[in-house]
């Protein structure tokens, strides 16, 4: 049933995430306005836009933290609009929050154990935790409290935690916020490794350098609507995109 073809799609690609007329209004403010968004399986998509473009609200509508005023969200062929966040996650999506949200008082190992044990148990879970520790290079710091790790290490730990549930779709909300140039570069490589393993990834990002490094395609949100969509080259060359970014920046500094 989940492999049913999408009749709306022109290509034969299966859509992992699809929104249809998705709208969210807060009182008089329309934060997300009639968004039709499609994300094919296996793609690495970046979602960009100036502050207040509706990126976080859109993400919250996808994860179920907000319920939409109208419109639908489909995940892997199923309508999930009415589902609770945890049910959506159980269907195979995973989110890395924008702010650091590792379990500060728990050890690195405990942090990884929590998401891992939801889908694995016994020795299998232990092995997976080891594997993840290895990937992010924190094996010898497993008994340290997550809160005592450096910022970059915590970001990586978070990505590993998000991966521990074997998601089909990984949502990354500004994964390199607060990282050094070097760390950003490494994170970009990590994200690309994940795509190579077959995970579909949606990244919400400010850092245009990271977007250049990793993205297949880019979607630009502006004032709650999809402004344009295209390859990285198309988007960076687009004068209108530059204009909305600069316009917003000018307003912000005023």
């Amino acid at each position: 049933m989940t492999s049913r073809e999408q009749p709306t799609s022109e290509t034969d690609e299966r859509l992992i995430l699809e929104t249809d007329g998705l709208t969210k209004r807060f009182g008089g403010l329309t934060a997300v306005d009639d968004v039709d968004f499609e994300l094919p399986e296996g793609e690495l998509r970046c979602l960009i836009g100036p502050n207040g473009a509706g990126k976080s609200t859109f993400l919250k509508l996808v994860t179920g933290a907000h319920s939409p005023t109208s419109g639908t969200v489909r995940f892997d062929g199923e309508d999930i609009t009415g589902l609770e966040p945890h049910d959506r996650v159980r269907r195979g999506m995973s989110l890395k929050f924008q702010q650091i949200s590792t379990y500060q008082a728990l050890t690195v190992e405990q942090n990884l154990r929590v998401p891992t044990q939801r889908i694995r148990s016994g020795q299998e879970a232990t092995d997976r935790v080891e594997e993840l520790l290895d990937i992010i290079g924190l094996s010898d710091r497993r008994t340290e409290r997550a809160g005592s790790l450096a910022h970059g290490d915590q970001q990586w730990l978070e990505i590993a935690m998000a991966m521990a549930t074997d998601p089909k779709l990984l949502l990354l909300d500004e994964p390199t916020a607060g990282m050094t140039v070097e760390e950003t570069q490494e994170t970009g490589e990590l994200i690309q490794d994940l795509v190579d393993e077959g995970v579909t990834i949606l990244v919400v990002e400010h850092d245009i350098n990271l977007v250049r490094q990793i993205a297949d395609r880019v979607t630009v949100l502006h004032q709650g609507r999809i402004f344009t969509e295209g390859t990285v080259e198309e988007i960076t060359a687009d004068e209108d995109v530059k204009r909305i970014y600069l316009g917003k920046a000018a307003e912000g500094s005023a």
Binding site: A65, H86, V89, R90, S101, E109, Q110, S121, T165
Partner: protein, 368 residues
């Protein structure tokens, strides 16, 4: 996972320890378990050398410890500020009293009463929990609402003069008297428990509860509860139904409190509304705060120590107990917010480490 066939018992011990131990509880060393066995040994042997009064008092302390453990799990491990845990303790005690007195001539009646106490506490807590956790109110509201429930329960019970449920006279401020003691077994095999047997039963239940909770906390659920305490949103986004899990934790621990309440009513053959009053509601909070919220062993030690001190103090002069408890409350929160037992453990480890470091420094100096 390779099992040494020649030493099967060692393998079995290792497997049991594997269940009991983990990062989520204090005390995972072989030394700890030797100490544990010594303490349990003392608990089970010293009745041979003491008088019934001491046994009676200690049985009461063990019942308080069960209440302390129930709060440690729901507050310390799950992060739910249940400040009205005594409401469920009281519900258990009153239910045991009512059912026990009503079925006083039925053999095995107190067994039914125990089950009834746990079931009623479970239902009451599940109802309250549903509104709190599915309403997703803030933690502070949970704290004051649960206490409001206990205090309102206290108010209701004080107004039950001339009220009878079943064969039990609730007795308003005077409470229920004549509650039957525990009777074990059924039919011709049943026997009423004397002070000593009651002591052994409660002590055994306490050891079993402690070990059972350790297994629970080091299992799947232990990790989930800790994760919920640390960050609910994050935990939800790993696919856990946080509302439901909080409800389960709240209700299970309230049932344990209700069970302890039933034991308490059977122990004293008596229960009154003060069980849901403000002072009693503060006791488990003090034990857990002083002992250390996120340990099991801390609240056990603190409950025992503080209750025996209170008993001694109350013989010196009535009224000073509350001042003492209040002062302990304030001072511990001000100076040892994580609790005394964790503070002592940390201090001990730091000292050991410090000693090791100064040793290595000394040898380094010698090398140089």
């Amino acid at each position: 996972m390779t099992e040494d066939v020649t030493d099967e018992s060692t393998g079995r011990i290792a497997r049991v320890r594997d269940l009991l131990e983990g990062q989520n509880t204090l005390g995972n060393s072989t030394k700890f378990w030797y100490g544990f066995l010594v303490v349990v040994g003392v608990v089970f042997v010293y009745p041979l050398f003491t008088n019934p009064y001491i046994l009676k008092v200690n049985t009461n302390y063990f019942i308080w410890i069960l209440l302390a453990l129930s709060l440690a799990v729901v507050w310390g491990y799950t992060g739910i500020f249940n400040f009205g845990q005594t409401a469920f303790f009281g519900v258990g005690g009153y239910t045991f009293g009512i059912v026990g007195i009503t079925l006083i001539d039925v053999t095995g009646g107190t067994n039914v009463a125990i089950v009834a106490a746990v079931v009623v506490a479970a239902i009451a807590s599940a109802l309250l929990g549903y509104f709190m956790f599915y309403g997703e109110i803030s933690g502070l509201y949970v704290a004051i609402l649960t206490l409001a429930v206990a205090l309102t329960g206290n108010l209701i019970l004080t107004r039950t003069t001339n009220t009878t449920i079943g064969a039990a006279e609730l007795g308003g401020n005077n409470g229920i008297t004549g509650i039957p003691s525990l009777t074990l077994g059924a039919g011709p095999m049943s026997f009423k428990l004397g002070i000593t047997v009651q002591y052994y039963l409660v002590a055994a239940l306490l050891v079993a509860t402690y070990l059972g909770l350790r297994i629970l906390l080091n299992s799947y659920y232990g990790y989930v509860l800790l994760a919920i305490r640390e960050d609910e949103d994050r935990t939800r986004m790993f696919g856990y139904d946080v509302r439901n899990l909080k409800l389960i934790s709240f209700s299970l621990t309230a049932s344990l409190a209700g069970f302890a309440g039933a034991l308490y009513a059977a122990w004293g053959n008596f229960i009154d509304p003060s069980i849901m009053g403000l002072t009693l509601a503060s006791l488990p909070i003090i034990w857990v705060t002083v002992g250390g919220r996120d340990t099991l062993i801390g609240p056990i030690v603190a409950a025992y120590a503080l209750q025996s001190m209170s008993t001694k103090l109350s013989t010196v002069g009535s009224g000073y107990t509350n001042i003492f408890l209040g002062a302990v409350f304030v001072l511990v929160v001000l100076f040892f917010p994580d609790g005394l037992i964790p503070a002592i453990v940390n201090w001990w480890e730091d000292r050991k480490q410090g000693a090791a470091e100064s040793d290595s420094r000394r040898s380094a100096e010698v090398d140089a």
